[in-house]
Amino acid sequence: MNTPKLPAGVETVAQNEVTETLIVNIGPSHPITHGTLRVQLELDGETILRAGAEIGYLHRGYEKQSETVFYNMVVPYAERMNYCSTIHNASAWCYAVEQLMGIEAPPRAQAIRVITSEMARITDHCVCLGANMVDLGALTNFWYLNNVREKMLFLFQELSGARMMTNYPRIGGVVQDLPDGWIAKLRQSMEDMKGLVGDVKDLVSNNRIFIDRTQGVCPTTKERALSFGWTGPCLRSTGLSMDLRKDQPYWGYERYDFKVPVYQNGDTMDRLLIRFDEMEESRKIILQALDKLPDGPHLVDDHLVVLPEKDKVYNQMEALINHFKLVMHGVRPPKGEIYSFTESPNGELGFYIISDGSPRAWRVRVRPPCFANYSAFPQMLQGAMVADVAAALGSINIIAGELDR
């Protein structure tokens, strides 16, 4: 630490000076935590000697609740985990159950899932970047990125009726097809988004204050990132390239041409700037998916899994009974277990489902990406200053709903 040089003539009084460290609590209700996280710092002046993190303030019992409801009824619970990119969690859950049952959603449904997941990725990055900039003092970016987010939410509302919690994916596909004119509006939004995100990136990446506050702050090494189980943009900012959309593709991602941005330093600035690049790649994926959107059904043709069409239900006895059985007794996967993984905006979102053949899951274990990312946070803060807590905490994008489930 730099102790200032005292002017001539001033004597230090301290002979038997006793100093002690200060413990500061950044409590669960605090603006920089963006949710219900708690951090305690042991300070020597402004430098953090040790930090401790506590979670669990938003533990809503998702895993136990999922054991009490049918498989399709878990979709709303799954959506509320990572509440910034809601539709991706639900699609990932449906994909996990489909894998367990050994069925595959039709190509059109998979392409729609890709489009909505990339829109969710853009929404999540907008919230992360916007909220983090507010903590650093740059409020304008929050409004610009909020504009992008509102466009996405308006499209979700047209698609499913609700802005955030869409309840749109189903086991076997998606609940309904794209409405008329939606694709043209999406293309227009992608055009507008390019300008807005480009503006924010220009405002921020050459800004002296931003660079001073984020460059070299709380860096993470590759070994530490692997040891803690980091995935997603945080891992890619340390120099390790891992993206499940490229390495172990699903939903037809191998048909789209996109880059995986990788930064080298692993500090806060890299973790923030990588998200701008990821938003641009998501934009490209959406446009390619719209160009290559296949025709066909949006739900798999399996009467044990999806509800029959309404006019058949009203006119044919078999369809009515089928509808009744599915609603009252649910979908029954075979006995077994599966670990299914997708690349959510924060990293690898895994679902470990154990089924006992009944319509309710025996055990649902969620591997939240934020959990592994946040467990490295106390160690990251050692040696940093108090003001770095805000920048670093926002850069790893902790969503308390996913962290605590």
Binding site: G336, I338, G350, R363
Partner: protein, 181 residues
């Protein structure tokens, strides 16, 4: 590497210590006893063709009352809990699952936090939800439920609507214990 090849490697190396294998939907797993856990996982990490260097997830399961439709699965009844370790290889991009059969909550499982730091919080969560203790863990306290909570919620004999209120804010110091080396 193929999942079945990994299983064969493990069976060749550990023989009788592999209690059972499992294969479904293209994914395979082995079940072992807690005493063999560290050896099996370090073998998976160090073997040059396997190189499982990332521990993705540690999840507990309670099998109390499983298989109620009459099928007799003896090996599932003999132990109540299982802990599933999802392993991932960053270099070779393959996955595997290792399951540890824990008879009941008196058995202690060795902690992996010295090898993989991420196991620290994940094992705390298994302790919080199931009550399984981990030897060598630096900070085995509850992580998701509050400290006055009695019981372990994800066990099958814990009723879901049994609420336990907290009447005071939690005020212990988090920097008391050294959580890392």
């Amino acid at each position: 590497m193929d999942q079945s090849q990994i299983t064969d490697r493990l069976k060749a190396r550990f023989g009788e210590r592999i209690l059972s294998t499992y294969a479904m939907c293209g994914q395979e797993a082995v079940t072992i006893l807690p005493a063999d856990l560290v050896e099996v996982l370090t073998f998976l990490r160090d073997e040059p063709e396997l190189r499982f260097n990332m521990l993705m997830d540690v999840g507990g399961v309670d099998y109390l009352g499983y298989g109620g439709d009459g099928e007799d699965e003896d090996e599932l009844r003999s132990h109540r809990f299982e802990i599933a370790y999802q392993m991932f290889s960053y270099d070779l991009r393959h996955r595997y699952r290792v399951k540890v059969a824990v008879k009941d909550d008196s058995v202690e499982v060795p902690s992996l936090w010295e090898i993989w730091r991420g196991a620290n919080w994940m094992e705390r969560e298994v302790y919080d939800m199931f009550g399984i203790r981990f030897t060598g863990h630096p900070n085995l306290r509850r992580i998701l439920n509050h400290d006055d909570f009695v019981g372990h919620p994800l066990r099958k004999d814990y009723p879901i609507t049994k609420r336990q209120k907290l009447s005071r804010p939690i005020d212990h110091l988090l920097t008391d214990k050294q959580e890392w080396a």
